[in-house]
Symmetry: C2
Subunit: 347 residues, 2 copies
């Protein structure tokens, strides 16, 4: 199928849809399709990554951008403002960078109460100060009432990457221990719990937090950390499938070791969601050589954002590109890449 649009021919295979659907924003397989089959060919000879490491003059920089469209804008434990700062800080941190500067570009819906904008901006200022980054440049656009929804904000960050630091899926190795910094699925459940038409009682609050301090503590152990990722949209399932695909390795999880809090498990059961696909905003996944894993885990547990860090699995040479989980009954299930969007507009 090829769709003509005034001379522009769509280079499928994009899944069999002629238009954008919510799933294209889910961080799963459909998002991957859009990037690999539409943006990459259009942009030409580039490697688009969540956080690019580039050279400017003599400096090694990490550079990352994210748009935030979460609804509602205020939720238990945070707001779109915290999320926008912490999300970009964390993308930089996953490159091993020290985050330095942020930009903020707003697309405001006509009619948005000024105090709502103010509360979000205040949250951004506080989150930036807490993370030790400076908001130095910005932009504001306004769109008509029927073309927006409150506040959308795009933050972009610059961080400094020290010489010798090289993190990424390309360094993942069979045998690497898979570590996670704490309980999974908390942000997604917190946002869902207050979404219109879906309110349910829960004590769960978003885990939104800046993780560069935790990363610094992990690197300070001297361990040769191979890969770091923050499992946001698409959750742990999307993150590990991405790493497995890029590294051409398999990943084996032990299901009973996965730190899914009871409240998250209950909410997911109720809503028919897979907690491994639910977004986190203050968690990281690390791949570390097995003999160094205990040292890294100990350092993580010393840090406020890694207190409940644990080992959840191992990288294997078998079934490259595939993530599996050993179940309590001794069987194995495949942890699939989410296709589309389980929870639209979660970040």
């Amino acid at each position: 199928m090829t769709i003509d649009f005034e001379g522009w021919a769509c280079p499928l295979p994009l899944r069999d849809t002629p238009a954008i659907v919510m799933g294209h924003g889910g961080g799963g397989a459909m998002s991957g399709d859009l990037i690999n089959h539409l943006f990459l060919p259009a942009f030409g000879d580039v490697a688009l990554t969540d956080s690019a490491v580039v050279t400017a003059g003599t400096a090694r920089l990490a550079f990352s951008t994210d748009s935030f469209v979460v609804r509602p804008m205020f939720f238990p434990g945070g707001s779109i403002g915290d999320l926008a700062v912490n999300g970009t800080v964390n993308d930089l941190a996953m490159s091993g960078a020290t985050p330095l500067y942020l930009s903020a570009a707003f697309i405001l819906q006509e009619g948005t109460p000024l105090p709502a904008v103010g509360r979000i901006a205040t949250a951004m200022g506080e989150a930036a100060r807490a993370a030790g980054v400076r908001l130095v440049t910005g932009d504001t656009k306004v769109v008509d009432f029927d073309s927006g929804d409150g506040v959308y904000v795009t933050t972009t960050g610059i961080g400094l990457v020290a010489d010798g630091v090289d993190l990424g899926p390309h360094r993942a190795t069979a045998g690497d221990a898979v570590l996670v910094s704490g309980p999974l699925g908390v942000h997604g459940v917190a946002v869902l719990s207050c979404r219109q038409g879906l309110e349910f009682g829960t004590e769960v609050r978003s885990d939104t937090a800046p993780l560069h301090g935790l990363v610094a503590a992990m690197l300070a152990t001297g361990a040769d950390v191979h890969t770091l990722r923050d499992p946001t949209r698409g959750g742990l399932a999307a993150t590990l499938n991405e790493i497995a695909g890029a590294a051409k390795l398999g990943v084996e999880l032990v299901e009973r070791d996965l730190p899914v809090p009871a409240e998250v498990a209950d909410a997911c059961h109720l809503l028919g969601l897979d907690p491994l696909q639910v977004a986190n905003e203050g968690k990281l996944v690390a791949l570390v050589p097995p003999d160094q894993a205990d040292r890294v885990l100990a350092a993580m547990r010393e840090h406020p954002y890694g207190r409940d860090a644990c080992r959840i699995g191992v990288c294997v040479a078998e079934h490259p590109g595939m993530v599996v989980a050993r179940t309590g009954l001794g069987g194995t299930r495949v942890v699939t890449m989410p296709i589309g969007e389980q929870l639209p507009r979660i970040c």
Copy 2:
């Protein structure tokens, strides 16, 4: 008037509106209010500029972000894709930087035809190659059909600023010649000419173009260029008023020297617009010491994007913060800062 919003008190004076209106996105006085009275106090001790010059390691970087929401997305002479690349390239160039890297963050409306997204991405790739910058990182979010409008794209750029280069309103000096690189108001009229409900016949095409090559040619003359700005939203009027306000200088224009093409003048007359407030996307304004202005003008005219460069006025010590134009009849009129939004969603 103070509006309470769950504990957040709005630090007025924001103009007497409790909510965002289109004018807050116009690049004029209302945009300034929002920045100065809402974002700046919220973000804390920062100086937000269109293009920040920051230090990372040993590198001097320019860093700039812009969201693009122009409608229609395709217009005579370009598209939102070109605009998004050239707009950010130009913000970097106005700091005297060599643009290096761009990020692109998309907010897509559910239901947007994939080929439209593809055509925009293709335009971005082509514009990036033409400007010699690399698109290295990105993000895609999708919003519901009634919360978006096709494609919004936020580009953020990093450029390298050579040692010794220092451009900005702080360097403007009484006596500086005011130069402009070519005809004014072209982009705005081109976009308006194909806007729904407003179609009118015109040959005018958007002037969207990357200006860093022109800037390099100007700096290569060795002249001590003081200030560069691209007069986008709010047009020449907003740009010169901003400079005059920041530099605490007056600006005196000579009305008959202003290069407003007949087609632009006609369209503005028809629509009741002031051509000095209409957006440009491939023009720059330069403040240059008077004895060096001819040399800079000559270099500009050698460059494809400065062929029609001309001198339009002078900076003066009188009436600081105010821009005036000497009229053909020998009188003087004040060129005011646009308050709100003459042409919503022009970029």
